[in-house]
Symmetry: C2
Subunit: 656 residues, 2 copies
């Protein structure tokens, strides 16, 4: 395909975003583009809907449809569930009006289709058959003023972040119904998960039928169109690529894959819509993390935009833990920035306020926020207590200056003192009745963290459209090393799925790869993490996190093994950790006792952290697996479980 078309459609993409061309300019641009449109051309609408906001989604789609009509394309294809938004959560169950509205908007859009340009669009359909769930997850083909046909999704994912089967009825494959004519071709339409069940590709299949195979064998379409809403996760892209390439080649049939872009709540879609030819060769791929009106041809392909790093890992690398986070940092950065940006935009917030401690978590959060919503909309507040070092204060200030975000320093000393005085009075009263006071506890640490959150939420009360930010990272959330109503409190938690070792790598990557180099002071990256809430009596210095927990390198590998390999303590005692390898390289060794102590500590602390997971603010999903509430729910009452294994004989002995 001619490269010129992509230079021209950049202007079109901008128009769709900003609506800045006059009708005449649009017509003239359309004439220029038309010169380069190949045979069988269709547009892939790589577009960003808002869940539930049917009206806005419909009006937005119509702009895209009009462009397809101006260019006289054979079709414009939208992602799965585009009109109502994906994911949609439970509220279509309680507010069926949203579904009624999406049906009527679909009809209104159908009324506007003209000429040869078909519109293929995902929506939610009422299930009017007897029995089953309330809705179907469907694709409509709109043509010549009417709804030509409706295709219903067969395979409904219901694991991790997916809940399709909760509200949607699985439909039989019905291959005949899935075929529509697009220009000179016969296209077979499938919906997202329908394309993820090839019996030759996967060792274990979740479903008994492969709709792609059924449609191709029974109907012999010229190509397959897959309308998807598939989120980005670490190391998922290569699986997707291998699978789509495999299926296209196996069936000798091109596959056109359209994916949503943008974020809805914590789920982030990367776009990267694409075409595979009948040899399984990738012959077109859209930009990632951007809306794009992507013109392709199943016979002539299209342009291949490069993927961000981390969107092209091999499948094998999924099986090993590595501290080389480098290959996934660009994707991580883009995913979090997109998720923050869309969360603010879609909820109507404009500004963010966060505490700047001079530590790594708040530092990286500030950078990501500045890039997502603009430095002028971010306010960093340094809130020192008597434990805060002079270096932390100056690091925070320097970071704010470098980033160009707003900055203020306010001491929490007076708030701390008046709270502490009131606590003394209260605790005496309680102690007179309850003889169970701890000799050591986190009360003073927490007063500091909570006073800071009080200030941040106060600013959110007092200034318009302003959201406080929770800065807790994934490693610390697993350990419950975060204060309720303190640093884990906020309207959004950007780092909740980023482990500490990855955060260090990300900080370095940001210094190197952002337009503005070295915004993060080197001292922040160099220092060992600590909350600066308490003094370590052994050292006389602020307690370091690794002293309270365990080495981050070890901790992060435990998290990775639990999330990705479902390992027990027994399994992990048998495995050699990277941390152990690295010690050996220095002639040292991790004792079995110490390793077991850390593993037991991990599960004990994780069990007491479950409540904190339950009340965590919304956050992005980044890793292959996460503790994001959208994906994973661990009952709090299951907090005293033994995650180790006992033998059958030990069990028999207990039954007396």
């Amino acid at each position: 395909m001619d490269e010129n078309i992509y230079a021209l459609t950049d202007t079109l993409d901008k128009d769709l975003l900003e609506d800045n061309l006059t009708e005449n300019e649009k017509q003239s641009l359309a004439i220029q583009i038309q010169k380069y449109i190949p045979k069988d051309a269709i547009a892939l609408a790589q577009i960003n809907p808002t869940s539930g906001d049917v009206k806005s989604n419909a009006i937005k789609a119509f702009k895209w449809i009009k462009w397809a009509q101006r260019l006289n394309l054979d079709a414009v294809v939208f992602p799965e569930m585009y009109l109502i938004g994906y994911p949609i959560g439970d509220f279509i169950d309680r507010f069926p009006i949203i579904v009624e509205e999406n049906i009527e908007w679909l009809k209104a859009l159908a009324a506007k289709t003209t000429g040869k340009t078909k519109v293929i669009m995902g929506f939610a359909e009422f299930n009017k058959t007897k029995g089953g769930k309330k809705y179907f997850n469907s694709i409509a083909v709109l043509s010549e003023g009417k709804i030509e046909r409706i295709i219903r999704k067969t395979l409904l994912p219901n694991y991790a972040e997916f809940n399709d089967y909760r509200h949607f009825e699985p439909a039989p494959v019905n291959s005949e119904q899935r075929i529509t004519t697009i220009g000179q071709n016969k296209a077979g339409i499938i919906v997202c998960e329908d394309g993820w069940n090839d019996f030759d590709f996967f060792d274990k299949n979740l479903y008994g039928v492969d709709p792609v195979e059924t449609v191709i064998k029974e109907q012999h379409p010229d190509y397959i169109v897959n309308c998807s809403s598939s989120i980005t996760r670490a190391k998922k892209e290569q699986l997707k690529h291998n699978m789509l390439a495999f299926a296209a080649k196996k069936h000798a049939t091109p596959i056109i894959y359209v994916n949503q872009v943008g974020s809805n709540e914590g789920l982030s879609f990367e776009g990267a819509s694409r075409v595979y030819d009948q040899n399984g060769r990738l012959c077109a791929m859209a930009k990632s993390y951007q809306e794009q009106f992507f013109i392709v041809s199943p016979s002539e392909g299209g342009k291949i935009y490069p993927l961000p790093d981390g969107l092209e890992k091999t499948l094998n690398s999924q099986k090993a833990f590595t501290l080389d986070h480098e290959p996934d940092l660009e994707r991580t950065y883009l995913t979090i920035v997109q998720t923050i940006r869309d969360y603010f935009k879609k909820t109507g917030f404009k500004r963010a306020v966060l505490g700047l401690s001079g530590g790594l978590d708040s530092t990286v959060s500030a950078v990501l926020l500045a890039d997502a919503i603009g430095a002028e909309n971010v306010f960093g507040i340094s809130m020192p207590s008597k434990i805060t070092s002079a270096e932390s204060k100056s690091d925070a200030r320097e970071l704010a200056q470098n980033l160009g975000i707003n900055f203020a320093e306010v001491s929490i000393k007076d708030m701390y003192d008046s709270t502490r005085a009131k606590f003394d009075e209260t605790f005496s009263a309680v102690e007179s009745k309850w003889n169970c006071r701890y000799s050591e506890c986190f009360t003073n640490d927490n007063i500091q963290a909570r006073s800071r959150a009080l200030i941040l939420w106060g600013i959110a009360n007092e200034f318009q459209s302003c959201l406080p930010i929770a800065t807790s990272d994934k490693s610390e959330l697993y350990m419950g090393y975060a204060t309720i109503n303190g640093d884990m409190s906020g309207g959004f938690a950007p780092l909740a799925d980023v482990s500490k070792t990855k955060l260090f790598a990300l900080a370095k990557w940001l210094n190197k790869n952002r337009e503005q180099k070295n915004a993060i002071p080197e001292t922040i990256i160099a220092k060992r993490p600590g909350a600066e809430l308490a003094i370590n009596p052994k050292t006389g210095k602020p307690l370091l996190a690794e002293e309270a927990l365990m080495p981050y390198e070890f901790l992060d590998e435990v998290i990775w093994r639990v999330e990705n390999l479902q390992q027990t303590i027994t399994d992990m005692m048998r495995a050699e950790f990277l941390y152990e390898k690295h010690l050996k390289e220095h002639g040292e060794e991790l004792s079995i006792d110490k390793k077991l102590e850390w593993l037991n500590k991990f599960f004990r602390r994780m069990s007491t952290a479950l409540y904190k997971w339950f009340i965590m603010p919304p956050s992005p999903i980044v890793d292959a697996r996460s503790i994001n509430k959208t994906e994973y729910r661990h009952p709090i009452i299951a907090s005293r479980i033994n995650y180790n294994k006992t033998t059958y004989e030990e069990k028999l002995k207990e039954l007396r």
Copy 2:
């Protein structure tokens, strides 16, 4: 059946709870009971497991099994998923070790079966067939030292609080496999939802097969055994009763229904296990909200213990909203008390601390806590600010004295003043950069609510096993009338599914029905609710909640219509509310404008409350529908949706 057996088994129930009999006493009790054991007797193990705590569940079950063996019963039947606990959430996905352990414990229990006494028990089974979900939701029949057979659940609910289909594979009915011999009889075993799909009873069925009908038609069992874990909800009992009675009569086959008791996280199971004879007549029913070793006979029935009020409403009453909460108050009380008690017990907490404002929410919370965990384990703190009235303070003190809970009064004035001073300093700094300060906002109200939460969490930090309580009620949560990190913050929220009008009724009911009469001062029930956080400039008195929101009678009906009828603003404008009827009875009228204003306000406020629902602490499910996180997830980003309807013509006009 002879009544004597039930007097005797009361001692046995106590022994199972407290393990207080010697082996000799057990033998002698067994001999006494045996005299009265009828033909075909089996025990229904109405028992309380802890999700995930497989070892404790197994050891507990074994005590019950030994009693069944001592009594030489034909069988002892446990609820669905008993061994691993129900609900189990997502953690069996990440920690398959819990499932491995439950299999091994099952084998160990099987090894202990002897003589004629079979054990029928729910557990989680690995799916070793090719494809499908990881597990089956199964029932094992244990007999003569072995696992005799395994029955797999066919119908897997996946709505509201149910997520079975997320981790379990539906199994074919396989009627032959479901038959086991119990004593002289052939029993057909089904699992909970398997019994909820009668095609003649329901207008609309969720599934295409009725396992009860299949098993009876193909195998002609003498009776059906349904192993269940079915939670209590308002007005669910009558549906269940009608359905089970209908099915028993239709098939002329007795149905024995065993239900879990106790609470796991927010879900509460009421027990009330039972037997219907072949004429559909209820002929035995266990106690509600108590563990019971319930001996029944399919031929001779058993004892019928009465249900608490609210467990026997007619189906018709489900279709009308009424402010007569009276019939559901006993069930509501028992459900919340059981949920609090089990949450504390299963997480290992012993004590609760809450703010006592002298208002209705904190008052009813204190009563329920005292009844759930013991008055001596509850600490009520009155934390007046300058707005708090003398009456509120004395009401709080009087309540605490009446209940016998611990009490202290600490002023938050100093904390408020130092926070306010720090806010002034901070806000000037912010205002110098951001020109978006509100002229009116809730900053001062929230300082008060958050200072109080700071004190409660401080106590939880300082004293062992102590949980702060969030007192927000359902009406206020819908309106977002609760402070983040303030009154909505806590380790548990007992009232989150109780509307304000019901709370008033509950307060009166508690005064009348608790052993200790009139513990709640009349002045608390008589006063109109208000948070006492701000002064109403119009009246010069503390702002009342109904002035800030709308009349509670109206608000609670809107909530009911949204939850139970899925109504839109348009639907509700057409309906006559009770509030309107009551006004008319007094010669007044609610104007259309005012009604529309309130409805718009409801949806506007609800949309901004979604974030607060997301971070709410665990709470009981009480009503027929709720906003409990276990049941309902509404995307926060869908906060700016129009819940009204527009016409097709209006839509066409928007597409230009």
